[in-house]
């Protein structure tokens, strides 16, 4: 179509449409720029504030950014394996830095578990145990919080608020509180991680239940099934694969969480890593970091594989 054929002036109606379109466009552009400006302002303000309240200033400390590499450089490459498997070191001078064999945990006369492997197993076991406890209670709570199974808004609201509080309550506080009552050890970490897991899994679970197919439930109700029977035979079989998938997802998160809680006094490998970095034991630090990295990587891969088998690609949608 040749442009010369088009009318030079728009009709009143056409002009109105054009003007409206231009207005919309400019308003949208204005909003975009305003949003961008606010974001930049918040960002620069945040950066200034963070830099100002930090112990070392960013540009002063930037040359030291890779200092931690020095924390990780052992005297020779084999030291890492000696530290990891508690083998005697040729540099042993009686100090804590090279006393690898002292941490051995003997199961029999000659067979021992290296200290870091033992602590790593402890941390992983804290994660598994707390995820099991969290799943158990989350499983019970989710049916009470789902709209399609619990018509009473008071019970539903109460259980949902309870789970929200359990989820948002800082884990550090729960761990610290139990540390004050119980002695040092893994139990405060278990308490903290499981309480958080109840809230987090409960929410994911009840959302699955609310999206479930209600036809089996209807059938059971028609046949005169009571509430527990409806849940057990109508709901549980169809939600169980998703529950299992979320269980595994949570397990990944909890392995990390129990490591951190360990560092603030909950036992396990986290505490050893913090001490080792603090005291500058390069070989020990690197051994722990490698062990931790390998464990987290392995747990992630295993859980991803199993989740894909359980529920297919749906498992990789954004989980909240």
């Amino acid at each position: 179509m040749a442009t010369s054929m088009l009318p030079k002036h728009l009709s009143d109606n056409g002009a109105l449409v054009e003007r409206h379109w231009q207005e919309l466009n400019s308003r949208r552009r204005l909003y975009s720029w305003l949003g961008f400006a606010v974001l930049m302002l918040a960002l620069s303000g945040s950066l200034w504030f963070a830099n100002d309240s930090n112990a070392g200033k960013f540009f002063d400390r930037l040359p030291h950014f890779f200092d931690f590499v020095g924390d990780l450089a052992p005297r020779d490459g084999l030291e890492i394996f000696r530290a990891m498997f508690d083998l005697p070191s040729p540099y042993d001078d009686g100090s804590f830095k090279y006393n690898y064999p002292e941490g051995r945990l003997y199961l029999t006369e000659s067979f021992y578990i290296p200290e870091y492997v033992h602590k790593m197993l402890e941390t992983v076991n804290i994660a598994i145990f707390s995820t099991v406890i969290g799943t158990f209670f989350g499983f019970i709570f989710c049916f009470l919080a789902a709209r399609n199974l619990m018509p009473n808004p008071w019970i539903r609201g109460f259980v949902r608020r309870l789970m929200e509080i359990l989820r948002a309550f800082p884990e550090v506080v729960i761990a610290g509180f139990f540390l004050a009552i119980l002695s040092l050890g893994p139990i405060p970490a278990i308490a903290a991680v499981s309480i958080h897991t109840i809230g987090a899994l409960g929410k994911l679970f009840f959302e699955v239940v609310e999206n479930a197919d209600m036809k089996p439930d209807e059938g059971l109700r028609a046949a005169g099934g009571n509430w527990i029977e409806r849940v057990w035979f109508g709901m549980v079989p169809q939600v169980l694969p998703n529950f299992a998938s979320y269980f595994l997802l949570r397990l990944e998160i909890n392995v990390r969480a129990s490591t951190i809680i360990g560092a603030v006094g909950g036992g396990g490998i986290g505490e050893l890593l913090r001490l080792s970095i603090g005291q500058g034991h390069q070989a020990k630090t690197l051994a722990i970091v490698i062990l931790l990295f390998a464990t987290i990587f392995a747990v992630d891969q295993f859980s991803a594989w199993l989740r894909r088998r359980l529920v297919g690609d749906q498992a990789f949608q954004l989980a909240q």
Partner: protein, 505 residues
Amino acid sequence: MTSANRLSPLEMDAIASRHPHLLQGSSNKRLRTILISAGLVVYLIFSWWFFSIGHVLGNANWGIAGTYLADWVSYEVRPELKIARDKTMTIDYQRNSPLGPNPNPSWVELDKETVTRTVEIPASTTPAAKPKASSSFSFMTPGSALGSTDATSAQSRTETRTEEVITRAVVTLNRSTKIEVADGLVKATHRGETLTMTVDGQDTVTPQGTLPAWATQKRPGEKITLAFGATGWAEVEGDDVSVRNRFFGWANFFFDTNSPFFGKSYGEVLSLITSGERIDPARSNLALAWNNILYNAEWQHLDVWTKLLQTVVMAFVGTLFASLVAFPLCFLAARNITPNFLTNQVIKRFFDFLRSVDMFIWALFFTRAFGPGPLAGMSAIFFTDTGTLGKLYSEALENIDDKQREGVKSVGATPLAVQRFGVLPQVLPVFASQALYFWESNTRSATIIGAVGAGGIGLKLWEAMRTNSDWENVAYMVLLILLVVFIFDSISNALRSRLIGQKAH
């Protein structure tokens, strides 16, 4: 379906009995259920042993748990009556008492009397210590340990002194609970029962009659503990009655005991601020009051708020930078956008690496690099989330609809324009939504990496808990954290549902 070919129940049962295998679950499946349940039970028993849960729970100090929990929302005032041999008393409050330096609460009634008496002063007592001795005098063998070492070189002397002593004290904890101390007799009343104890001013306390349920004494003569439930408790010893009176609420939340506004009602403070004379000539009363609130020594409002802001800032900047870095990299990691196997794998493994070296390890390392503070926490969140967001972003890219890309490509657009108009409109809402979700969840997790020194409120929380006496400060911080998490949760949810519709959550 007509009624002719509908099965009668009897026939249905007949069919069922002819093909039982269809209606029974497969034995394989049943076996699996049994095996999983058995495995779970064995695992739980193993863990019970592994963590020695029974032992730890048995040894726990559950009594103190109640006190700590009560400390979250209440505080104690601890008047302590010291009883001398002549049955006169002096009263003391705990250091940093919430009632200020010279408390005189209405629930403690004291009868005072001025007495003159002769006190034996060991010669070894230095002159500097004398005024101290008279103010909080211990009648328990005064300085006998010191006196015995110097006994040969110096003789002890006597001194006549006039001082005010307490002859009778009544501490009223609540309507049904009262402790009265006079003439070597401690009379405790709780819920209609009265226990009278004789104290000798030295080290023996003897109850008269049987002990009620709320009083315990381990051995005859030793201290008697009186538990009054939520309102407090008391300990009676031969020379000392210490009372813990518990009040609900947070003590001195606005003004600490050093503030000129301390102990004034809201109305008084308001009238001082609006129309009172300047307390500090250098500034207005409003500025002084605000300053006193911010620098309240017990609650440290300003410090708490600053640390909380640090936590929020750490999560915000860390997540923002992470999404900015993950954004270009994810195009290289997605196999449908960059059809180069090596590049895909390298970038994806890089993301895995950042994610699997945990946020906690990064936090420890960056605390070494930048020193404790939000920069360390921010960098840790940045590194971990670059990995997580990069992984999620590249998965979102791999799941896009290819038709739009084809369309843009077919009109001869440059590769960059294909991404801009064929890919970006599909994934940008998802990217933004995921970044928002991580911002919100990082606000939560930034609390905990703070506890290892990476800035924010975590360390402050941890320090408040370590002392075991500042649980009310812990409660205050937890409340603030919950509030902030709730606000960001709502903002992030609202933005996300606008971005990708209601199905996002």
